[in-house]
Subunit: 292 residues, 2 copies
Amino acid sequence: MSKIIINKLCIIGVGLIGGSLARALKKAGVVGEVVGAGRDVSHLKKAKALGVIDQFETDIPLAVKGCDMVVLAVPLGAMQSVFEKIAPVITNDMIITDVGSAKASVVKAAQAAFKTIPDTLVPAHPIAGTEKSGVEASFPELYENRRIIITPLETSSVAAIKKVHNMWQACGAEVVETSVEHHDEVLAATSHLPHMLAYSLVDTLAKMDAKKEIFDFAAGGFRDFTRIASSDPDMWHDICLANGDALVTMIKKFTDDLQLLSTAIEKNDSTYLKETFARAKKARDEFCENKN
Amino acid sequence: MSKIIINKLCIIGVGLIGGSLARALKKAGVVGEVVGAGRDVSHLKKAKALGVIDQFETDIPLAVKGCDMVVLAVPLGAMQSVFEKIAPVITNDMIITDVGSAKASVVKAAQAAFKTIPDTLVPAHPIAGTEKSGVEASFPELYENRRIIITPLETSSVAAIKKVHNMWQACGAEVVETSVEHHDEVLAATSHLPHMLAYSLVDTLAKMDAKKEIFDFAAGGFRDFTRIASSDPDMWHDICLANGDALVTMIKKFTDDLQLLSTAIEKNDSTYLKETFARAKKARDEFCENKN
């Protein structure tokens, strides 16, 4: 007999991330009832037909009523308006969390909406996803062995942190905690910067005269390298605005190093080139060993 | 009954690329005898034991004797010294080609070694490979449905071009022809630049204080994006020196566009960000459709 962690869960935004969370919790048998919330009725009907949610509601304050866990799985740009809608109806035993890819902007949105941030709010970010989106793409194993970063606030209660922790652990995830600021710096480096490089590279090439031949002659390495440039443009627009400072800092750092590499190529500096490539290969090979 | 295209083939450098070519030609039944040449006897013995080559020789002039096709599958930095070794023994019916990733440097090496470039020389570049290397990693299907770029010279004879063409076609490859200069520009954009970005990104992150967490928090997208940073550092050193001008030009072009993106992030320029990401996603999605 499984132990119920959440009696009534509200997922606001039932897409790949929110839908997979609902599926995982249901599969683990740790959730009583799942309410899906969002603006698009046809989308919510599909989620219900797929068994991802048990019922749905387009009125956010109604949707969260009686829930002991509310998960915001909406785009970063929509966080504040959702917080504003639930602010009047939150209770002391309603834990609130989110899945946003940048955390300072979520805290800022909560601050603006709640005025006093409730001790039930615990921001979080699952490091998982595919290039697909939508509830049809959701599956219960998405979070298995993936890292979930929880960024508790000064105001967060121990009980709230524990409940969010337990929810993600029940999905098979490895939960780690860090600060909002550190999360945003690390994600700028490891996720947001690579996405900018992939988007920018593909766009640079697509603007060239030899565009057709360039894409014709591209090999498998190029396909892997640019996969993340197929990600949702609107989502990445939101992330750029939400984590702009850390991202611009990382772009600067990267560009400075790339300039050094370019200068080494111009000067036929064999030592610099060999050392840089060997150091990078070693770091990358070690990264992959640790992930296997 | 297959038609023999090559009576006696010499592969100089029996690694992933050279070994896979030998295997593919044998599988297609279009080659009589395969001689492997190189410096490392134990390596050549392994290639013979694997059935990739029929015999081997460490003396290059001896190895190419009586061959109607000689393929240089050595690093770009070794091309000139190999050309110098075969220069005294080439004959009119000995076609010479290579598999180098940059073509102007190969022509320059041939010019230096032969003084007068023979009409039997036809440079080429198979757009294929894996992140593995060595003859153990070779397999006959490597070139199936892959593009092979032949860059015939003003001096190349029609007969020589045709023979190189037929050899690669027999491996299941799609053969295209272009100029040396255009090849180098297009490859700088589509292969050499992405490798520089991947190496430089991993190195930038590996130098950061939060290195451990950065690699810990990296997800699947990062693994795909940086796969090419696991490529052979010595090979990429050679490519940088061989195609430096085109590569530095591409790095500049990329950096300028990345700077515009960074400025758009700083200025919260939603239109610029959404348009750039959408344009890149469209180009990348189309590229992948064409490849499937």
